[in-house]
C-alpha cells in the first residue's frame, strides 16, 4: 500500500518541521527518517523534499547553513526557527483535530467494530 500523493503533500510540512524539531538535519537524513518512520510507505521524492525545504526557508520556518563534512564535501543543514516551532504547533493542533475526528468515526463507541473487521476480512 502506498499513501496517496495528496495526503503525502498535505502532511509534508508538519512532517519536516517535526523532524527538524528533534534536531538539525539535512536533506538525505530527513528522507531516510521519513522512510523509516513510515516503513517505506510514504513515497517522498527529492523533487518534493528540496523545494519544500527551500519554501520553508523562504517563509522563515527554517534556516540553513553549509557545513563541511568528510573532506571537501559540504552539506546544507537545516534548523527550525521559533516561527517554525509556532507553525508546527499550529499544524499539530489542526492535524490532531483531523485525526481525532477520524478516530471518533472509526473507533468510536458503539458496536460497528465487527463491521470493520468483516469488511477487512472480506477484502483479504
Amino acid at each position: 500500500m502506498r499513501v496517496a500523493k495528496d495526503l503525502v503533500a498535505a502532511s509534508a510540512t508538519p512532517m519536516v518541521l517535526g523532524i527538524l524539531a528533534e534536531g538539525d538535519s539535512y536533506g538525505y537524513a530527513i528522507l531516510r527518517r521519513i522512510n523509516g518512520l513510515s516503513g517505506g510507505e510514504l513515497d517522498w521524492t527529492e523533487g518534493l523534499l528540496y523545494p519544500l525545504l527551500h519554501r520553508l526557508e523562504r517563509l522563515g520556518y527554517v534556516e540553513s547553513s553549509w557545513q563541511s563534512v568528510a573532506g571537501e564535501r559540504r552539506r546544507k543543514y537545516y534548523r527550525i526557527t521559533n516561527t517554525g516551532l509556532a507553525e508546527l504547533a499550529e499544524q499539530r493542533r489542526q492535524w490532531d483535530t483531523v485525526v481525532d475526528a477520524l478516530k471518533e468515526i472509526w473507533l468510536g463507541p458503539g458496536d460497528f467494530r465487527p463491521f470493520i473487521a468483516i469488511a477487512l476480512e472480506g477484502q483479504a
Binding site: A29, T45, E46, L48, Y50, P51, H54
Partner: protein, 457 residues
C-alpha cells in the same frame, strides 16, 4: 579494478551529473551541491550493503528520478529563476564570474564618471551650455564616445598600438569639429554635428572588435552591439524622461525652479552617462537576455514591406510624381537606413545554415521595393542638382543615398541568389560586414573634407 580506480570513475560520473544539473536554469549551483550530497549519501549507503561503486551510482541516480521532474518541482518554488535577472548585485554562486562582473561594473562607473566630468570641463574655460550650444552640439559625441571606447578597449585588453590609433582618431575628430572656421549656422556645421557621432561610433567599433579586426564574425557582433545599445539607450532615455518630469513637478510644487539644474546638469550629464551605461548593459546582458533588435525586425519587416509596396502602387495610380522638397532627400535616406537596419538585424539573428523561409522572401520584397522607390527619388534629385548647383547638404545627402543604394542593390542581388538557391547566406553576411568601413569612410569624409571643399559654407 582497484578501489582508487573505482573512486576516480565515480568522481567522473559525479562531475558529469553535476554538469547535467547545472544546465538546468531552475537549478542553481547551491541546489546542485545539495542534491549531490544527497546522491552521495545514497551511494554510500548502497556501497555499504555491497554494491559496487558504479552500480550504486546508477541505482542512486535512478532513485532520484528524472531531472525533468526534479526541475519542474524546483521551478514551482523558484519561479523567479525562469526570469533571468541582470547581475547587478553579483551572482552569489560563482566567484570567478562574480569578480569579473564586479570589475566590469567598477570600470563602467569610472568611465561614466569620466564622461560626465569631461562634459563639464569646458565650463571651466567659460564655455557654457546655454550660450555656446553650437559648440556642445558639434562636440557632444566627443564627451561620451571616447569613454565608451575606453571601456570596451579595457574589457578586450586592446593592444597598445590599437589604443594609440583610437586616441589619434578621437583627437582627429576633435580637431575636425573645432579647428575649421565654421559659422554656427552654416550647413557645414550642421553636417559635422550629424556626421561626427557616426564617424566616432565606428571608432568605438574599432575598440569593440579590438581582439580580431578583420574577422567578419566580430564585425557582425559589433552590428548586434549597435542595435542592442540603441535599444538600451532609448529605454534609459525613457526612464530619464520620467525622472525629469518628476524632478520638475515636485520642485515646482515647493516653489523652487529646477529648470537650470535640469537643463545644465541632469539632462546633458544623464545623456553622456547613458551612452556608457548602455554599452555596459549590452556587454553584461548579451548572453543573459534575448536580443531585442531582431525581435523588432521580425515585427516590422512585414509592416514596412506593406507600406513600401502600397506607396509604389499609389505612386503608379496617382501618377503625380514625387515632390522633392528640402527634406525629401533626407527622408528617403532615412528610409533606406531603416530598410538596411531591418535587413542587418535579421541577418544578425539568422542561423547561417537555416533553410530559406518565407521571411527571407519577404525581406527580398522589402529591399526591391525600397530600391525602386529610391531610384525614382534619385532620378528627380539629379535633375535638380544639375539645374541649381550643389551645396554641402545636397552633396552629403546624395553621397549617402548612393552608398546605401549600392549596398542594398548588391544585397538584393545576393538575396535573389539566395531565393533561387545558388548563393549561400554567408555571402550576404560577408557583404554587409565588409561594407562597414565604407560608411565610416564616408562619415569621416563629410567631417574632414567637405567643409574646406565648400569653403566652410
Amino acid at each position: 579494478m582497484t578501489a582508487s580506480d573505482g573512486q576516480d570513475e565515480l568522481e567522473a560520473q559525479f562531475a558529469q551529473w553535476r554538469h547535467y544539473v547545472l544546465r538546468r536554469r531552475e537549478l542553481q549551483q547551491s541546489d546542485a551541491e545539495e542534491l549531490e550530497d544527497h546522491l552521495r549519501g545514497s551511494v554510500d549507503e548502497l556501497v555499504a550493503v555491497g554494491l559496487r561503486a558504479d552500480e550504486a551510482f546508477l541505482v542512486a541516480v535512478k532513485r532520484m528520478g528524472s531531472l525533468d521532474d526534479l526541475s519542474r518541482e524546483f521551478a514551482r518554488e523558484h519561479s523567479e529563476r525562469l526570469w533571468k535577472q541582470l547581475v547587478l548585485t553579483g551572482d552569489t554562486d560563482s566567484t570567478v564570474a562574480d569578480t569579473r562582473s564586479r570589475r566590469d561594473l567598477f570600470a563602467m562607473v569610472i568611465c561614466t564618471a569620466g564622461a560626465v566630468a569631461s562634459f563639464k570641463v569646458p565650463e571651466l574655460f567659460g564655455i557654457s551650455l546655454n550660450r555656446d550650444s553650437a559648440f556642445y552640439g558639434r562636440n557632444f559625441a566627443l564627451f561620451a564616445l571616447p569613454w565608451l571606447a575606453a571601456f570596451l578597449a579595457w574589457r578586450r585588453r586592446a593592444r597598445p598600438a590599437l589604443v594609440g590609433v583610437l586616441v589619434a582618431m578621437f583627437a582627429l575628430g576633435a580637431v575636425a569639429a573645432n579647428a575649421y572656421p565654421l559659422a554656427d549656422d552654416s550647413q557645414s556645421a550642421v553636417l559635422t554635428a550629424i556626421h561626427l557621432p557616426i564617424a566616432l561610433w565606428f571608432v568605438v567599433g574599432l575598440a569593440y572588435v579590438a581582439d580580431d579586426l578583420r574577422s567578419s564574425r566580430r564585425r557582425m557582433d559589433f552590428i548586434r552591439f549597435t542595435g542592442e545599445w540603441l535599444v538600451y539607450f532609448v529605454l534609459i532615455a525613457l526612464g530619464g524622461g520620467v525622472l525629469i518630469a518628476f524632478t520638475y513637478g515636485t520642485f515646482e510644487a515647493i516653489g523652487v525652479d529646477p529648470e537650470r539644474f535640469i537643463s545644465l546638469w541632469l539632462l546633458p550629464c544623464g545623456a553622456v552617462g547613458a551612452v556608457v551605461v548602455a554599452g555596459w548593459l549590452v556587454e553584461a546582458k548579451q548572453s543573459v537576455v534575448e536580443n531585442i533588435a531582431p525581435v523588432l525586425t521580425r515585427l516590422f519587416t512585414p509592416l514596412f514591406t506593406a507600406v513600401l509596396l502600397g506607396f509604389l502602387v499609389a505612386f503608379a495610380v496617382t501618377n503625380a510624381g514625387i515632390d522633392i522638397g528640402r527634406d525629401a532627400l533626407i527622408l528617403f535616406n532615412l528610409l533606406l537606413v531603416v530598410v538596411l537596419g531591418l535587413l542587418l538585424y535579421s541577418i544578425s539573428a539568422r542561423d547561417p545554415l537555416a533553410p530559406l523561409g518565407l521571411f527571407d522572401k519577404l525581406q527580398f520584397a522589402l529591399v526591391v521595393s525600397a530600391l525602386a522607390i529610391d531610384a525614382l527619388v534619385l532620378l528627380e534629385i539629379t535633375g535638380r542638382i544639375t539645374e541649381y548647383g550643389t551645396t554641402p547638404n545636397k552633396t552629403a545627402a546624395l553621397g549617402e543615398n548612393v552608398i546605401l543604394l549600392a549596398n542594398l542593390a548588391w544585397s538584393g542581388w545576393l538575396m535573389l541568389g539566395l531565393v533561387r538557391r545558388h548563393k549561400t547566406f554567408a555571402a550576404l553576411e560577408r557583404w554587409q560586414t565588409g561594407y562597414l568601413p565604407v560608411y565610416a569612410a564616408w562619415a569621416w569624409l563629410v567631417v574632414l573634407v567637405l567643409p574646406p571643399l565648400f569653403s566652410y559654407r
